[in-house]
Each structure stands twice: as C-alpha cells, then as structure tokens.
Point group: C2
C-alpha cells in the first residue's frame, strides 16, 4: 500500500489516497485514531461508476463515520474509473443497456455476466486491501462492509471472517447463485431498500433479505427514489455500526 496524497480536512479527518498494486483507493481516518486506540474499520463499497464519480457521496459517508470514531476505506472496482477497461464486463453492460432501452426483461445470463466476474475479481482485492489496512497504525478490528454491489458484500460476508457486520444496499442486480450464498451469511446485517426505486426489483430484494441466514437482520425500506436515501436512514445505519463495531 502506497500513499499518494494526504489531506487534513477541517473536521480533523485525514483523507489519504493510496494505491495497492494497480488499484487506487482512499482512506479516511478520524482525528481520534491512534496506535493505542485503533479505529474500527468500515470498508465502503459502491457501484461500478468510478471513484471520482462516487467521491462526493463516499466522502460524506466517510466523514460521518469518522465523527463516530470509525476509519473508512474504499478501493476502485476492477474495470471502473482509472483502471483498465474490462471488455467482458463492458459487453455485459452494453447488453444490459440494450435490453433495458428496449423494455425487455433482463435475463439471468446478462445479470450473471455483469455481476459474477466482478464479485470473483473484486472480493480478493478487498481482502488484500483489508490485509494492508489492518497493518496500518491507528486502524484495528472489528471490520464492517457497507454499501453497494450487494453481491460483493454477500461474498465478503461469507468468505472473510474478519468482517463482523454489514450494511447492504438492496437494488443492484443479483445473480441467482448469490441467493444460495446469502443463506450462508451469519453476521448481523442492516439491509437498506429504496421502496420507490423504479429501477429496482423490489420482490428480488425482499426474497434476498429473506434468504440471509443471519440471526440478526433488519430491513429498512424508505422512500425517496434510487439515490434519495433520507438522512435519518443514514443515521440509523450509523447506529448499527456503533452497536456492532464498538
């Protein structure tokens, strides 16, 4: 892990850009973090739109989490942002756009081609980032995953024992195979769903919530459209982290 920039924000949060091999990422640490009092870590997931595009929303959430004493880190997804194009996934995205523009149903084949390679490639990268992040002074366990590409969150929850809780955003396309993986998830889950998100298959989101094997799981459905998560819903998610990471 190689830090490429360091910025001290006015709320005492330190924002550092890094590269991990060829993967760019950002780490936010709270003013309170120290070697003697390491901050719990939130891995901040996001849709494959590129870190630059997502930066304002990610930074806002990271600074909110820093105020609660958490460090937050994110990495660029394969094939997104400044990382090399990934022809297979780009073809799947083009197929998705085509059928959606035509008003046709999105087939399982398209969803699988879009999501499964991304999960297979991104999850080991998140794990490598986790190795590097936990080796830094001032950052310690426990660790949570938060955010989008819910299939990445599911796979991480199943394969990565250092992740002890997750906030997941229902709404992206979910391959059928991930429903089986969801049954293997046992960590506490806080699942957010935008009820009136027309681009979202609500029934699939409810079926997925039902599939999770976790003894503690909560579904929080709100109004406001795809990107209109209400402020109070973010506060409730923050309390979930405080309950499970402190």
């Amino acid at each position: 892990m190689h830090f490429t920039s360091e910025q001290h924000l006015d709320d005492g949060v330190v924002e550092r850009e890094f590269t991990l091999g060829e993967i760019p990422g950002i780490l936010w640490t709270p003013a309170s973090a120290s070697t003697s009092a390491p901050a719990p870590l939130i891995l901040l997931g996001h849709p494959p739109l590129g870190l630059r595009t997502m930066y304002p929303r990610l930074a806002a959430r990271a600074r909110h989490s820093a105020a609660e004493g958490f460090a937050t880190a994110t990495i660029e997804l394969p094939g997104s942002g400044d990382r090399p194009r990934w022809p297979a996934v780009e073809r799947a995205r083009a197929d998705l756009r085509r059928v959606m523009a035509a008003g046709e149903p999105v087939s399982d084949e398209i969803v699988d081609a879009l999501i499964l390679p991304l999960v297979d490639k991104a999850v080991p990268e998140w794990q490598a980032a986790l190795d590097a992040l936990l080796a830094l002074p001032g950052i310690g366990g426990p660790v949570a995953y938060s955010g989008g590409v819910i299939s990445i969150g599911i796979r991480l929850a199943v394969v990565e024992p250092r992740i002890s809780a997750a906030v997941l955003f229902a709404g992206s396309f979910v391959p059928r195979a991930m429903f089986e993986e969801a049954r293997q998830v046992t960590i506490p889950l806080h699942v957010m769903l935008q009820w009136d998100d027309e681009g979202n298959d609500r029934q699939a989101a409810l079926d997925l919530f039902d599939a999770f094997g976790s003894e503690e799981k909560s579904l929080h459905a709100n109004m406001g459209g795809h990107t209109g998560v209400p402020q109070f819903a973010g506060d409730v998610a923050a309390q979930f982290f405080t309950r499970h990471l402190k």
Copy 2:
C-alpha cells in the same frame, strides 16, 4: 376524564389511571411536563388482550417515551379487559380460533367481523380521549399514534387531523377495506414488521406498506418472532417520534 389513581415512579414519571365515561385508561407524564412546556402526546395502541395483560409492555414503552419528554396515554379497547363483553366480536374471535386450529384459511368475512366493528367503535373513543387529554395542563400537541391494531391506527390517521405521525405494527389481520383507507394516509409513518412472525401474513403487511399514501414512510423489518421486537428497533422508533413531535 376522572383520575382514579396516581403513582410517582422512580424515574419521575407520573402514572395515573383514569376513566373516561366507562372506558378505563392510563396516562404517563414525564417529570419534565409543565403548563409552560407541555409534553407532546403519544396515543399508545395495543392488541385487544386487555390493559392488565398488556400493562408491562405498555408501561415499559411509556417510560421509555417519558425519558424523551413525551406523555403517553392508552385506553381499554371495547370488549376487552374490564369492559363489557361484546358478543359479536367474541363470536368472530371464536370463528378465528376455530379455523386457525383446523389449519383453514382465515376468510375475509372473519377478518371483517373481527376488525371493522372494533375500528368503528374504538376510533371515536380514542378521539374522545384525545379531547380530554389535550385539555389537561402539561400536555400539548403534536400527537402521534403508536402501536397495534394497525387498522385503528390507519383510521385514526385518516380521520383525526390532530395526529401528525404514527408508528404502526404490521401483523394483525387487516380487512380489505382498510387497504383503501391506507391510500388516504398522508402523515409520516414508521411501520414495524416482525419478519419471522409465523402468525403474520408477511405479504399482506408488505402490500399494506405499499398502499400507504404518505410521502415519508419507512418499513422496519426485524427478526425475533411476534413479541421479540429487538431493543434497537424500539430505539429507532423513538427517534422517529423525536423527529416528528419535537
């Protein structure tokens, strides 16, 4: 409204039993309530099991709300507790027990006979209680409804303009006619659903949530069975009241 007992609890809360005509009820007021700083009021609904049976749960919730500065009141439902038996509703309950014991589906006729007369009779009683409560020193608006018999909460939200927010528990039987009334509800709603409650028609609860006309509505689904609402879910509901009543 005639007070029949007054008890000072160790957290400064005053618990007073009252009668309103023939209807028994309980009022909890926080230590902070005064004529110059009247407490917002929560009307605390409950299933028709009788106030004595429900008392421990109701008192716990009222004391929690008092700590946030809210007054809480509840009244006995018609046909419950110490109130005169109500043969028509008792017949409907007997019918319900019979078909459930036989593993038969609960017909719309049984649900209508069970719930609609209760709503028709209880809602004006809640409104009469509201008149009397708001005339007391130390209690002022805004007013919220919280609790069970969701159909009573729906009707109150539609017909009673003094109610400005509601926490509703999905799970009781809901007559089809109430889905139409739900579309007329416009106040902020916080709907709680026990996801793994086997006695609950989950799909009906989701359909009802979808039907509500409110611009702000949130669904909070948790695990723990019918009566196992997690502590943190109660805290989130309390924040909803704080957001809307203060």
